[in-house]
């Protein structure tokens, strides 16, 4: 997969999925942690900004090399750790994190959103694999 294809087929769809899940996460976490808080219009930009941070490891983690199953799992774990560090660091620097409860909420938010994204991507690949298997019946020489 060339870098351009990688950006179009993986990174950009991931970005928009992240935006969606971040909106849901902010709504959920906000209602639990600070239900009475009022924010200005700027808050609308935060999912877009955090999603950009979220895809940074993807943008710079591109490799033409084909990893084995084990290497891929290790790469995904490193990816998750980098993501947690980037988002927590950014949030702290911007003053979003004011206490440890918020840090823990963001940490779990990242883990859950990353997990959901992986499941969605896996389901897409599973559906493609099913379509390919169905198509193979055309070539069956034992029927």
């Amino acid at each position: 997969m060339k870098y351009k294809e990688y950006l179009l087929q993986k990174v950009i769809p991931t970005y928009f999925m992240l935006v969606t899940f971040l909106v849901l996460f902010i709504w959920l976490a906000g209602n639990i942690l600070e239900p009475d808080a009022k924010y200005g219009y700027d808050i609308l930009l935060s999912p877009l900004i955090y999603a950009v941070i979220g895809i940074l490891p993807d943008i710079f983690g591109y490799s033409k090399k084909e990893y084995t199953m084990r290497q891929t799992i290790v790469k995904k774990l490193i990816h998750l750790c980098v993501l947690i560090a980037l988002i927590l660091g950014f949030s702290y620097a911007m003053g979003v994190i004011k206490n440890w409860r918020e840090a823990v909420a963001i940490f779990f938010g990242i883990v859950v959103i990353d997990g959901i994204l992986e499941v969605i991507l896996w389901r897409i690949e599973l559906r493609t694999a099913h379509q390919l298997t169905q198509a193979l019946s055309r070539f069956d020489d034992e029927t």
Partner: protein
């Protein structure tokens, strides 16, 4: 569809004739199947040369400048290069799925996802082959895009 079988005396006189109103996909499938049945390739096993039917070959693999043909339970060395095998037999459903493997699509039982945008092809003899990320696009095009109907 009506079928007729007439016996002939000589092997060289054997032929299959298809009479159809239109060359539909089904007819093309039959045609390609018959053509592949007739294809043979020379393989070497334990110093002995053998004629192999392409329809018996599960996949070809290139290893250290040598190319091997894998049947259900034997491995034969063949004289061709992998790219020659790929070019020569692509019309009868042999497709490259990684740098070193050309697989017979009719020998794949199922396809499942592997991580990292790759797939695993489960063959009818129980073997599993990885469809490299680089070749997934061509596999989709061949299986889902109807690219193999030109004969």
């Amino acid at each position: 569809m009506k079928t007729e079988v007439h016996r002939v005396k000589e092997k060289k006189d054997e032929k299959v004739t298809i009479e159809c109103v239109e060359l539909t996909e089904d007819v093309r499938e039959i045609l390609v199947f018959i053509q592949s049945k007739g294809h043979e390739i020379t393989g070497m096993l334990d110093g002995t040369y053998t004629q192999l039917l392409l329809s018996d070959i599960f996949y070809f693999e290139a290893l250290d400048e040598h190319v091997f043909a894998y049947t259900k339970d034997q491995v034969y060395e063949i004289r061709s290069r992998l790219y020659e095998v790929e070019e020569r037999y692509q019309d009868i459903y042999f497709l490259r799925i990684s740098k070193s493997i050309v697989v017979n699509l009719r020998k794949i039982q199922t396809i499942t996802p592997a991580l990292n945008a790759r797939f695993t092809a489960h063959l009818k003899n129980g073997e599993q082959l990885i469809v490299s990320r680089q070749y997934v696009k061509q596999l989709k095009k061949t299986l889902l895009g109807g690219q193999k109907n030109e004969v």
